[in-house]
Symmetry: C2
Subunit: 307 residues, 2 copies
């Protein structure tokens, strides 16, 4: 059985403070702290591209676990901000890491639901091809496409990358997934003319309507109660979004995490950054992760601690 | 067991003749017919985008097989020329086809190896999530990024899209795959500043060196001889490329197909266009498909006729 052996992340050190932009956008401390819940956003260096962020995350992974690069059989990068549209960013990562010529590589184009989808894709691809070592990267630096004058986006999104080592020596395995798409609403979060546009209200309505419903359905399907899950890891869109979902589901504050006030919404990296911090929390045996956003798309997974 | 139930394709009617460009590029009829083997390339209408090509392929699929759209559980689009970088093209296809809100959707970023990879990804994703109906699209209209003055690319690449219905009522199932990446050579086929650049000689060397070797290894692994395979479907890069690979492997002319003289190299659509034409050839029980290109990437699969 393959599953998650380890996770590492890279969040660039540079920050842009939202307090420094209060006057420009006519916003208050209360709005920053309580509504969006993002005090500053992480921003990559101009010289860094998506593949570079992946490599830095990989170097952080190597500090935690010994990796024989020749044993890596598949590399997947989840991104919608690739270095180039063609080739795929995973080929660049493959080259920079000097991986084996027998290693499979491809990118998945997804946004905030991308880590959950990516987990299912890499695990199933590995199982069916009898692979035992793979790397799942997430890297979607929205600073490449954000208009610094757009209040809807520039105050929220931060840059980051993560890498998840999938192996036959897992600490977590996944049990059940659920997925959803409302493609007709795809224009609510879109990059046109190299600039991100977000209809925040529409995305919020989508999340409030679909996410609690999909989680309830998933739990019912596997005959679990809300309280059987030890920790809920929601995609970290904003403080308002996360606390609203928790309230809708009726979750106690110890049952979920909000953690992005110092770096922002890192798209597909938001959930693995949270899950990395769960690894020392051995008492949490069942975790539910829920990603939602661009597409519009959603994906849930129940993750089980196995060692 | 899920596998390929049906395949349909869409090749735009508009053609640009390479004979009309003989003078401009200083090329002969012999070069057109015997070397590149592409007499004209298919070109989509300016008003068509990648998702539109997918929809047209889907309409052609509906002419062959009755599809209950509510039963589709996953849609994957293989492309490196999406309508938008964000959202994924599969979300647009999902919306245009009015598919179920419970349908999973994501894109895979890969080039000429994309269909073979995509087959493995969609089959394994469906198996592990207990899905029984899925759609795998390929659509990579290079006319969006080709410089009409670049002889290396404009004479070769044509536009097309395909859709493969994966279901629990297959006529083909896949047996074994092999994959490979040489990420260090990714610059040999790259889109920079919205323009495709190809080092044809390097790509040709890569294919001649890696493809026959990888096919021989795959056959050896599953204890098959070259002649046990009824038909070899190579990615259709050019006539020279296909016949060179066949010669290297020592294949008789009835063992492989060359079929792109009237539309060109359609990237990830080239193999499914060939496989669609194999469906009536019930005598061909074992097919080996081999995709290679952008990345640099390669993927092989052995496909078995089961009904």
């Amino acid at each position: 059985m393959v599953g998650i052996q380890e996770i590492a992340s890279y969040i660039p050190e540079k920050r842009v403070s939202n307090y420094s932009r209060k006057e420009k956008f006519g916003i208050s401390d209360k709005f920053i702290k309580e509504k969006i819940g993002v005090e500053c956003v992480s921003v990559k260096d101009d010289s860094e591209n998506s593949s570079d962020l992946c490599i830095k995350a990989f170097h952080n992974l190597q500090k935690k676990v010994s990796i024989n690069k020749d044993e890596i059989e598949v590399v997947i990068v989840v991104t919608q901000n690739p270095d180039y549209n063609l080739p795929h960013t995973s080929a660049l990562v493959h080259g920079k890491l000097d991986l084996s010529e027998n290693c499979a590589s491809f990118d998945i184009s997804l946004g905030c639901s991308g880590f959950v989808y990516g987990l299912s894709v890499i695990e199933s691809f590995m199982k069916c091809n009898n692979f035992t070592k793979g790397l799942l990267f997430t890297a979607d630096p929205y600073s490449k496409i954000i208009d610094p004058d757009d209040k809807n986006t520039t105050l929220l999104f931060g840059d980051a990358a993560t890498v998840t080592l999938i192996s036959d020596n897992p600490i977590y395995t996944t049990t059940t997934y659920s997925f959803g798409t409302i493609g007709k609403s795809h224009k609510d979060l879109i990059c046109e003319n190299n600039t991100l546009h977000m209809n925040g209200r529409a995305i919020s309505t989508f999340a409030r309507k679909q996410v609690p419903l999909s989680i309830s359905k998933l739990l019912k399907k596997v005959d679990l109660k809300l309280n059987d899950i030890d920790k809920y890891l929601f995609h970290q869109g904003s403080r308002f979004m996360v606390t609203t979902l928790a309230r809708q589901l009726g979750l106690d504050s110890n049952k979920y995490v909000y953690d992005i006030s110092k770096y922002g919404n890192t798209v597909s990296s938001s959930i693995p950054i949270l899950l990395e911090k769960q690894i020392p929390q051995t008492e949490n045996k069942l975790i539910l992760a829920s990603g939602f956003g661009v597409g519009l798309s959603l994906a849930n997974v129940i993750i089980k601690r196995v060692s």
